[in-house]
Amino acid sequence: MSQHSAAAVIRGRPAAPAPAARRKVTTDGQIGALLLFLPPALLLFTLFVVMPIGEAAWYSGFNWNGFGTPTRWIGFDNYRFVFDTRGFGIAFRNNLLIIAVSLVIQLPIALTLALLLAEKFLGSLALRMLFFLPYVLAEVATGLIFSFIYDGNYGLLASIYRMFGAEAPHLLASTQTSMLAILIVVVWKYFGFHMMLFIAALQGMDRNLVEAARIDGASRWQVLHHIVIPLLYPTIRLSVFFAVVGSLQLFDLVMPLTRGGPADSSNTMVSFLYNNGVSRMRVGYGSAIGVILFVICVTFAITYKRWFMRDE
């Protein structure tokens, strides 16, 4: 088939030609820039991203304690061990729980506050900073602070209970409540970040649309429902993405609070990885967990981008 007819076929479909044509126009200057800037980036990416992932995958096939070079190849047994362990199931379930709470509780709180604070009024800036503060705090510091707050003998919670003449519960020391305690900290720590994203989006929004709607007689709720929220969708989608990926990687809050205990009840997949792979020096087993986590994250990232963030 001649080139002419191929072009004709392309021209026949209205949507395709634009990106295809754009891609073809690579000037000499761009190729030069490509040759100059791509190799260092590619090298760094390979060295610090691709190789460690590859290494983890390789180590996950060994029964290895981290000393010397691994020699005892056991194939996929580590993966079998991981899925056989009760603790991993709990950790996986906890990650799902964190995601659910992030989406159902944290994001709505962030959105509501953003809608209230996006308007300029006395104190709105101060309130914004106040709500954003927890996010600025280092995770480990947050964990330590809350482990003091939750302490059933000396903590803030304990003194509040004592005011009412009651004995404080040890939230972090019970398998029933340890995860709840962590979830509260998660929501407290990250809602400010999402709130800021929403405020930024709200301020970048075209006010004319809202004003036009108000002039046309739309109620506050109608404006919110039909104009503001739809215009926020790209940001909401981004927030959801951050929330899910962040939830999957949660680690540094868990360690100072409970170290995944008691009895594995508050492990996340990453703290489970640390407790088994690093503390127990079962590097192969830990690598297998790492690979599983990686696959989950990548699968999520790709599908999410495909389905929800196609246009951005």
């Binding site: 029964n63 304690n65 981290g66 000393f67 010397g68 061990f81 939750y150 302490d151 059933g152 003998n153 004995e167 040890h170 972090l172 020391a173 019970s174 398998t175 409970t258 170290r259 205990g261 008691p262 009895a263 594995d264 690093v278 503390s279 127990r280 020096m281 079962r282």
Partner: protein
């Protein structure tokens, strides 16, 4: 101008002299000791060694216990690893030796080791080669608050059997006193119960058989029974509320504050509880009692058998020979007496235990000397991968999320999977 030149020359000359006087050998020494009073003595010892050995510098580095354990494999395999490292001997030491990261110091130590307690030296010997030297031993037992015992009408001196012990716990509870403080979040303080019960129930033969996979290994009768007896205790709810959220340090502070009557402790915790108490004084020496771990009915072990640690210094591969000299100096009669006098350690240098000033520590030293079977902590002896499962499983018995049978099974399975 001339003045400036002179100044520059003088400065250059000064730098050169300083350069020449600087150490030719630096010994890097990594430790985990948190007690400032003890670290101060160690530093003085290092300076004294430097004074005696011109051209040698001793550099102290510190890591917190858990962080140290996590970092150890990486530290050992790095090119600029410290030369002297803290060790609990046992399975972890064997793994390190197999990996070839430790220095065989048999020749460097020579006959010096004969000055030290043979059993402790044995712990640092793998396949007839010496890889480190012990500087302290310890025993696990109940330290108790005599005031609180008196208040509940319990006589610590009469507690010999497991049943006596359980009766004591019940009496303390009845008197409204928390019987035992324990740092459940760290898990290893809970593993003492299970391990010590196993030591009492089966003695040395049971442990050795389990290592060979005989009698059902760690799933065998002795170890299941240990779990069941531990469960008996747990069912009395003897620990402080929220014990699974307590680190060992917090629990020691809690005990030091007089809020609980007992703590199943490593002997040197008698000093640590003072440092960690709110008033920094803790339970005074004459108010602090010791109960040897009680004997369960039908136990095959000897009442004199001890559970405890053997701690010392290992020398890493490629360390300068001065490192061995420093360790010998650190475990010399003089330094050991100095540390004993303040009751920081039970010394390994023969005769140095006479310097112990506290009756509490003298008693522990006597126990260890009389012991025919000193079992190293299981979580150290079995290596990290199995040892940590022992800790997990026993913490789960205490928390009620595992039955003794399940716990024994989990440990045996980890043992079969190996490192």
């Amino acid at each position: 101008m001339r003045f400036l030149t002179k100044l520059a020359l003088a400065a250059a000359g000064l730098t050169l002299t300083v350069g020449a006087a600087a150490a030719q050998t630096t010994i890097r020494w990594l430790h985990i000791e948190q007690n400032p009073a003890q670290v101060k003595i160690w530093e003085e010892v290092a300076r004294r060694f430097e004074a005696k050995n011109a051209g040698v510098k001793v550099e102290m580095q510190f890591l917190e216990n858990e962080a140290y354990k996590a970092k150890l494999p990486t530290v050992l395999q790095s090119r600029d690893r410290p030369h002297i490292l803290y060790s609990w001997a046992g399975g972890v030491l064997r793994t390190q030796v197999e990996a070839g990261v430790l220095e065989d110091i048999t020749a460097g130590v020579g006959a010096y080791k004969d000055n030290l307690s043979a059993g402790a030296v044995e712990a640092f010997t793998v396949g007839s080669k010496l890889y480190g030297l012990p500087y302290t031993v310890s025993q696990v037992g109940f330290m108790y608050n005599k005031d609180l015992f008196a208040k509940a009408g319990v006589d610590g001196g009469t507690i010999k059997s497991w049943d006596d012990f359980l009766v004591g716990v019940k009496k303390l509870k009845a008197a409204g006193i928390t019987p035992i403080a324990v740092g459940g979040q760290d898990k290893w303080p809970l593993h003492f119960y299970w391990t010590h019960l196993a030591v009492r129930l089966g003695g040395k033969p049971a442990f050795e058989a389990a290592l060979k996979g005989q009698n059902g290994g760690f799933e065998g009768e002795t170890f299941q029974k240990a779990g069941e007896l531990m469960k008996q205790l747990v069912d009395l709810e003897p620990f402080q509320t929220g014990f699974l959220g307590f680190k060992n340090q917090q629990a020691l502070g809690f005990f030091g504050d007089g809020k609980a009557a007992m703590n199943l402790a490593i002997s040197h915790h008698s000093a640590t509880q003072r440092a960690l108490a709110a008033d920094k004084k803790g339970i005074a020496e004459d108010n602090l009692g010791w109960i040897d771990f009680p004997m369960p009915a039908g136990g095959k072990g000897q009442p004199s058998d001890t559970l405890g640690g053997v701690n010392g210094w290992i020398i890493t591969k490629g360390a300068p020979k001065e490192a061995v000299e420093f360790v010998k100096f650190f475990i010399s009669d003089e330094v050991q007496r100095e540390l004993s006098k303040q009751n920081f350690i039970i010394p390994t240098f023969k005769g140095a235990e006479l310097s112990l000033s506290a009756a509490f520590m003298q008693n522990v030293a006597k126990n260890i000397a009389a012991s025919q079977y000193h079992q190293n902590f299981y979580d150290q002896d079995l290596g990290p991968s199995v040892g940590r499962v022992v800790n997990d499983a026993t913490a789960e018995i205490a928390g009620g999320s595992m039955t003794p049978k399940q716990a024994a099974k989990a440990i045996q399975e980890a043992f079969k999977q190996g490192n």
